[in-house]
Each structure stands twice: as C-alpha cells, then as structure tokens.
Symmetry: C2
Subunit: 329 residues, 2 copies
C-alpha cells in the first residue's frame, strides 16, 4: 500500500491531524512545523488520498461528463473547454462515452454518481423521465436538452437553421430535404421544427428523411433517398452526416454543390478540412462546456437550493463551398 498520512505523521513527529491541516488548511499550522511536514511528505512521496478525503468531506472534487460518442468531432471542443474550466476551479472531469446507447448511459450515470460531485449530460439520449429519477442521486446540468427543473445549457440551433433555410431559398432552391438525427436527440427535433417553420414561410417544399445515425455512415446510407427525393438542397443533422451524404451523392454521379447544395451542423474539424469546404452552422461548444461546468459547480455548492438556470447560446450560419445557386430546373 502507498504512503499514508500516518506515515508522514510518524516520520515528522506530529499527529495525523497536523499533517491533514498542513494540506487542507495550511494557515492553521506553524510555519516551521508545516515546512517540516511538507519536507517529510515530499521525501516519502506522499499524496493525499482523494477518495478517503471525499468520504469525510462529502466532496470528491470530480465531475462526470457523459457524451454519446467521443469520436463525434462535435464533442472534443466541449470536453476540453469543460476540463479547462473545471481545472481552474480545482476540479477534475471524468469523461465517459455511452456509444449512443441509453441503457449504457444510465448505467454510467449510476456508477459515476458516487464518485463525482455532479454530472454533465451532453445531448443525452435518455428519456426525461429517467433523468428526473436520477437527479435525486447527484446534481445534473444538461446540455442540449430541455429538462424541466434542471439547469440547462442550450445551443439555439434554430437560429442557424433558419438562416440556413433562408440561404438555400435565396440561392433559388425550391425543393429541399432535411436529414434528421437520432430519435432521442433534442437538437434534431429543434432543427426539424425550425426548418419546417422557415420552409413554410418561404414557400419551400421540405422533405424530412430520417432518423439517421449521426455519423458519416448515416449520411452515406441516406444518399439514395436524397437522390430519389429530387431535391436540390439538403440540410443535415450534423457535419458527419453531411460529409457522408456528399460522398454517397458523388458515388451516384451527383456533384456537390453543382447538382445538390449540402449544409451541415456543428462546424467541426472534418467539415473544415473537407473538399468542398462545408457550409455549416457553428455551435458554441467551448462556451457551452465552460458554462455548463460553472452551472454545475454552482449546483454542487448550493445543493437543493440551486438555481435552475437555462442558458441559451447563439448559433449562426457559416457559408463555405458546399452550397451554390440552384441549377435552373
């Protein structure tokens, strides 16, 4: 077993509580004693056992962060921002991947909840009912999902979607498709609603195709349906789907943006690196990550009395190369 507080106490000729104070309330201990203890601890390679500390303080100084898929480039910027923000607050973030599986998601939450002070749920696929039940166990903050009575960070994708549909209309597209996302996704619902509304306003004919897996495979698989739908513009659930769709369209001899204009959502790395560069909707993922951590830490500190704030972050359309004027019908 590793070196404990007791070893340090013995070796420096003080009581364990003095050693404890040296680390958790240094100002309460004589400078001379403190230095001696510190030196001994250093020499022995002592590190306080955070798990044991958590047992008495009730604070682990850990946060859990649950995402559907680490490999989805939407998440890493959020994860990094959350970790950085947490570190500034002397907290650490444990990341877990649910593989888009609601059952696994619930299991992870339940196993995590005793080891962390709070959990950040990003784009959860869980039903609101389950979330409501789980919240008794541990403070939650939810990103991109509306759960009543819970602190929430929402990215207002509708804003960007309306701009995107307007952009398509402005380019002369009359028949457009929407490739929706996974069934449990709040964002997918938001996209769909905003797109339908704006399309109706502008007199566009909108076909909704889906649900689709939120991956390039999902987009690839949908290419046939898109081609068959006879549309000239497509808005996709995310960049990966858009990229997969472009690939699938190309396999069918359809050029993007020559024959079909394609718009993604997320403004992720692959979209920026692809050819044509993807027209997409920026999501303020880093800001969301930071804000979610702050909200969560506030919840942790306030306990039951925590404010259930809802933060709405803005999104916007970035026009690049995957959209162009509709070829005359």
């Amino acid at each position: 077993m590793a070196v404990t507080i007791r070893d340090v106490a013995r070796a420096s000729g003080v009581h364990v509580s003095t050693v404890s104070r040296t680390f958790s309330a240094p100002h309460l201990v004589n400078a001379e004693t403190r230095n001696r203890v510190l030196a001994v601890a250093e020499g022995l390679g002592y590190r306080p056992n955070r798990a044991a500390r958590a047992l008495t303080t009730g604070r682990t100084h850990n946060l859990g962060l649950i995402v559907a898929d680490i490999a989805n480039p939407f998440f890493p910027p959020l994860i990094k921002a959350a970790q950085a923000q947490a570190r500034e607050r002397d907290y650490h973030v444990f990341v877990a991947d649910t593989d888009e599986d609601p059952v696994l998601e619930q299991e992870l939450i339940e196993m995590l909840c005793k080891q962390v002070d709070g959990v950040l749920l990003c784009s959860p696929r869980l039903s609101n009912r389950v979330i409501e039940r789980l919240r008794a166990q541990v403070p939650f903050v939810v990103v991109n999902r509306r759960v009543k009575g819970l602190a929430t960070v929402l990215m207002d994708v509708g804003q960007g979607v309306r701009a995107a549909v307007g952009h398509l209309a402005g380019l002369g597209h009359r028949r457009v498709a929407l490739l929706s996302g996974p069934a449990g996704s709040w964002t997918s619902g938001e996209i769909r609603e905003s797109a339908a509304e704006r399309a109706a306003d502008l007199g566009l004919e909108l076909t909704v195709l889906g649900p689709n897996a939120p991956t390039e495979q999902g987009g690839l698989a949908a290419a046939g349906a898109v081609a068959a739908a006879g549309v000239t513009g497509v808005l996709c659930y995310n960049d990966l789907v858009a990229l997969g769709l472009i690939e699938g369209l190309r396999e069918r001899g359809l050029d993007v943006p020559g024959d079909v204009s394609v718009i993604g959502v997320d403004d992720s790395l692959p979209g920026r690196l692809s050819r044509p560069k993807l027209t997409t909707i920026t999501m303020p993922t880093a800001a969301a990550g930071r804000m979610a951590v702050d909200l969560l830490l506030a919840s942790v500190a306030a306990g039951e009395a925590a404010p259930r704030t809802t933060a709405r972050l803005e999104t916007s359309l970035v026009i690049r190369e995957s959209t162009q004027r509709a070829s005359s019908p």
Copy 2:
C-alpha cells in the same frame, strides 16, 4: 447524504455485514434474506459507494487513460476500444486530456493515481525519467513509447513508413520531405528513423522539416517550408498535419497530388472524408486500446510480479488519392 448500507440494513432488519455480503458475495447469504435485502435496497434506491469500498478493498475498479489531445482523431477509437474492453472486465475508464502539456500530464497522473487501479499512458510527452519515478505510485501501461521495465503496446509505424517511402519512390519521386511531430513523441522518432533508412536505401533525398504541432495548423504552417524545399513528395507526422499541409499548398497554388504527393499517418476520420482522400498509414488503435487494458489489468492483478510484456502491432500503407506519379522533373 444518499442512502447507505446502514439504511438498507435497518430497513431490512439485518446487520450491515449481511447487506455487504448480499452485494459482494451473494452466495454466502441465505436466498430468502438476500432477496429481502435486494428488494429493500432496490426500493430505497441504494447503490454501493465505490469510493468507500475502494478504501477497504484497495481496488477502485477504475482505470485512468491519459491522452495528449482528445480532439486529435487518432485517439477516440483507442479510447472507445479501451472503455469497451474495460467494461467487460467490470472496470471503468476515466479519460483525461493533457493538452500536449507534459507538466499537466504529470499533474493529472498524480491526481488520478489514487482514484484508479492503473493508468494507461497514450503517446506520453513525459520524459522516461519522470515516468520511471511515477510508476512507483501506480501500475502503468504505455502505448507508443518504449519505457524499459514497463508493459508496452507499440504500433510498428516503421513498417508502414517503409512502405510509404517505397510507394513514393515507385511513383518516381526523388526528393521528398518529412514533416516531423512534437519533440517528445516516440512515434515521430520512429517515423523519422524508418523514413531516413528506407530513403537512403532507395537513393531518395530526404529533408526533415520540424518539429511541427500535431494539428492541421502545424501542417498549414509548414507549407511554406515544403514549397521552398522543392520536393514532390511529403510524409507527414499524422493525417491532421497532412490535411493542413494540403490546404497550405493549395493556398500557394500547388495541387495535391498534381504537384506534390502527400501521405499522412493514422488513417483517421478527416483523412477518409477529405478530398483528395488521403493516402495514409493505418494505425491499429482499437486493438492497441484493448490490448493495453488487458495488460494493465494483468499488472493490477499481479502487482510487482507483473510481466513487462511488449506488444508490437502491425501497421500498413493505404493508398488513396493524395499520391500520384511524380510530374516529370
């Protein structure tokens, strides 16, 4: 505070030790009692506190996984594979991102080591010396770095690199460049060594340019130097660098593969989705993740006596669209 083992004991009229056994050694308790306890626990929403359990057993059933950059598409497949493998062994993996910062890396290890039974170090930037020192605290398995006396999983990138240089030579390229990676990267050293050796064998003139940041920014920034070097083929530290380089070359009016052939390393998502599709070297990341977890768990179980296995995984060249015959000189 949440519901504890004591609450369950009281509510079901047995002693805490019986409740404990019900969960950790069910066969030692009368079926009838067990069912009653289970029912009560279920009703109360009791979940064993893993941190407290860890305090007595000395096993947290957690593993730490440290990577330089979650946003680097090289890592997610490895992370997912490691998490899946660990879950099968009833372990959980906590992921942490060091932001390519050795100091942060060390801090993370030190803070993690008391909350996990072992740590997986992926492509560490830490010096071997520091790793040697830290290993006293917690079992390690290292991926893509050779540390004497430590269990190691190595991806034999040299194999792929030799094929890549051969591929370039076969296409008639005579002057080629290598964009190396970060200073602390073992993989970068391996690539360089294998490339230099094979280039010498084949009579190619090889220019090494670097170190470069392992991101598309790094590649973008190196485009000028590549153009100035007057080479017709470039091997890059990873796909991101390659993609950035292609972008930078294009800004300078140079076409890939028309004017310059570019090869990446990793076979990552953005490389598959980009245009031209990137010729690259596949890295067996998922296999490495699984293997690393198995080795680590073996280390955890065996303690000091753990075998310090070194596993070597094969890599290979995938020829796609970013390389072609050298334009006549």
